[in-house]
């Protein structure tokens, strides 16, 4: 059968709205009666991605495909790109500006958390062009 495809645009200038897309995906997965651990993992990973888009990249677009056995999420931005991916994947490393830290974000857990809560993760990034994060969360059927 076909997957359920969802598409979201994340606004880059409104912090309060970050989390809307992941919240909507969570609601949809719940009404599907989806595996609850997969719902939580997908919601947390996607939320981290949304926050990253707002903090670093001025927003972006998200494609979500829900299959019976897995959830695939593609988060694409046209931001500055990540200069050192290994560094960015380290817990506690952050390039977020001080005003972001004041809001309680920028703890350097964004990408590490995405890795932690997903079964597969892949990042394409190019300086000055943008970053695309691919993630897969498997469902326990």
């Amino acid at each position: 059968m076909n997957a359920i495809h969802l598409f979201y645009e994340v606004s880059g200038d409104d912090f309060a709205r970050a989390g809307e897309a992941s919240g909507d995906v969570k609601q949809k997965l719940k009404s599907l009666g989806y595996d609850k651990t997969a719902i939580r993992n997908a919601a947390i990973a996607m939320y981290e991605g949304e926050i990253n888009m707002v903090i670093h990249a001025g927003g972006g677009v998200i494609d979500v495909d829900i299959y019976p056995e897995k959830i695939e999420i593609k988060m694409e931005d046209k931001g500055p790109g990540i200069p050192d991916l290994d560094m960015a994947m380290q817990e506690g490393f952050s390039t977020a500006p001080p005003q972001i830290h004041d809001l309680g974000f920028g703890a350097g857990m964004g990408l590490p958390n995405i890795k932690k809560y997903t079964d597969k993760m892949h990042i394409d990034t190019e300086l000055g062009v943008g970053t695309t994060v691919y993630m897969t969360v498997n469902a326990n059927k």
């Binding site: 059968m1 359920i4 719940k30 599907l32 009666g33 939580r40 939320y47």
Partner: protein, 423 residues
């Protein structure tokens, strides 16, 4: 078996089929069909929002009349802490308690007493480290019911202790039986309630098989009689036996304060509670040990069966607490065991589309297609709370596309056009 018993009901004669209640229901549990509201019982959490917003007073909470106490030999009133916030210039809780005796009760047992015991038992239980943190309060039945149908990952965060109402009912019955020598079935225990969710909780409890509460009387129903009796009192007996912690449960934040732990959060109003639960589910709330959630704004003082503005009632409770000791009731060492839930809070996925995932996915695809063709004004005229909910109702076979007045208008216009081209 008693899972879908509710205290919120509809007075069909008064219902004019408007959209006020369907738009405000936090679980989208109401539809207007054939010009009358109907409650989807499996979704209703008895929060009472519909009672609050219905301008025609067609939504009601089933509660007992005062005469319910007559069938028992010995009658005990269990006043909720929020009752004390309902009276102007009240200087002493004893006046309310003596008033309850004057209208027919043989004795009183403040629910604030059970609250103090549960506060202490909860503190001890938290110290053991056995509970999943943050611990979510179990006191508001509407919140616990909401968690049960909407937040699968949070069911095991709910404090597994009985509510102050239940604890007080059990203790009151036991003590009265010892004092009077009467068997417990001749002793009637009646909760004086600020809300319909507590009525449901007494009739069909989630925590235990059977509640010790024999009847629930709405504060709003007993108020005129009680208030008149209070005015006529000539002598005030000292009956009160609770402190700041117990009485404080009337207000949002009161229960959390009783945990004597600064790492707490207290949110009130069902929409605020949902936001907190959503963030908690996504592990976005850290460094908090205890979460108090109340479905009503202001806490229990904001319950739909109260009569006073919740914020005025809050201020009054605040004043009353001033001259009270911190706490007068203590939990025995076995309290956490004695008052532990005997049932388990299991997630009940009533909001899911189908038991079969692939079927649910097909349904969702259809729902999204239908939603795209609806005006998305969420006007509610079709009887469903939003265009999306209507699409869901159509896919489930409970509504048809022409229930949408805009779609119907378009179809009529198209029909008129083809008719005129034929003439």
């Amino acid at each position: 078996m008693n899972e879908y018993i509710h205290s919120v009901t509809l007075d069909e004669e008064k219902c004019c089929g408007c959209t006020n209640c369907i738009k405000r229901c936090p679980t989208e549990a109401i539809r207007v069909r054939n010009g009358k509201a109907m409650i989807l019982t499996e979704r209703c959490i008895d929060c009472g929002e519909c009672i609050r917003v219905c301008p025609h007073h067609a939504k009601r909470a089933k509660s007992d009349p005062l005469s319910v106490i007559d069938s028992f030999t010995y009658k005990i009133a269990l006043p909720a802490p929020s009752l004390f916030g309902q009276f102007n210039n009240l200087s002493d809780i004893n006046i309310v308690l003596n008033g309850l005796i004057a209208i027919g009760f043989d004795s009183v047992f403040e629910v604030a007493r059970g609250a103090e015991i549960i506060s202490e038992a909860a503190r001890k239980l938290m110290e053991t480290g056995e509970l999943k943190k943050p611990v979510i309060s179990c006191a508001c039945p509407a919140i616990v019911r909401l968690i049960r149908i909407r937040f699968p990952e949070l069911c095991d965060h709910v404090l597994p202790l009985l509510t102050p109402m239940e604890v007080s009912a059990r203790l009151a019955k036991k003590q009265a039986s010892e004092k009077t020598g009467l068997p417990e079935d001749q002793i009637g225990v009646f909760f004086i309630s600020p809300c319909p969710a507590k009525v449901t909780e007494a009739k069909a409890p989630m925590a235990t098989e059977k509640s010790a509460v024999d009847g629930v009387i709405a504060i709003s129903r007993i108020y005129p009689q009680l208030s008149a009796a209070m005015d006529k009192l000539t002598k005030i007996e000292p009956l009160a036996f609770s402190g700041i912690i117990g009485v404080g449960w009337a207000n949002s934040g009161g229960e959390a304060t009783g945990m004597l732990n600064d790492k707490y959060l207290a949110a009130d109003g069902i929409e605020n509670a949902i936001r907190v639960l959503d963030e908690l589910e996504d592990e976005r709330i850290n460094d908090i040990d205890f979460i108090e959630l109340n479905a009503c704004h202001g806490g229990c003082v904001g319950g739909v069966l109260t009569i006073e503005n919740p914020y005025i009632a809050q201020a009054r409770v605040q004043l009353l607490k001033k001259h009270l000791p911190v706490s007068k009731n203590h939990a025995l060492d076995n309290a956490a065991t004695e008052f532990h839930w005997t049932n388990t809070l299991n997630f009940t996925p009533v909001l899911k589309l189908s038991d079969n995932l692939e079927e649910a996915m097909e349904m969702m695809t259809k729902i999204d297609e239908i939603t795209k063709n609806l005006p998305n004004l969420d006007c509610g005229s079709c009887g469903s709370p939003s265009c999306h909910a209507m699409a869901e109702d159509i896919v489930k076979g409970n509504a048809k596309i022409t229930d949408c007045i805009f779609v119907l208008k378009e179809q009529l216009q198209a029909m008129a056009k083809s008719l005129s081209s034929l003439s």
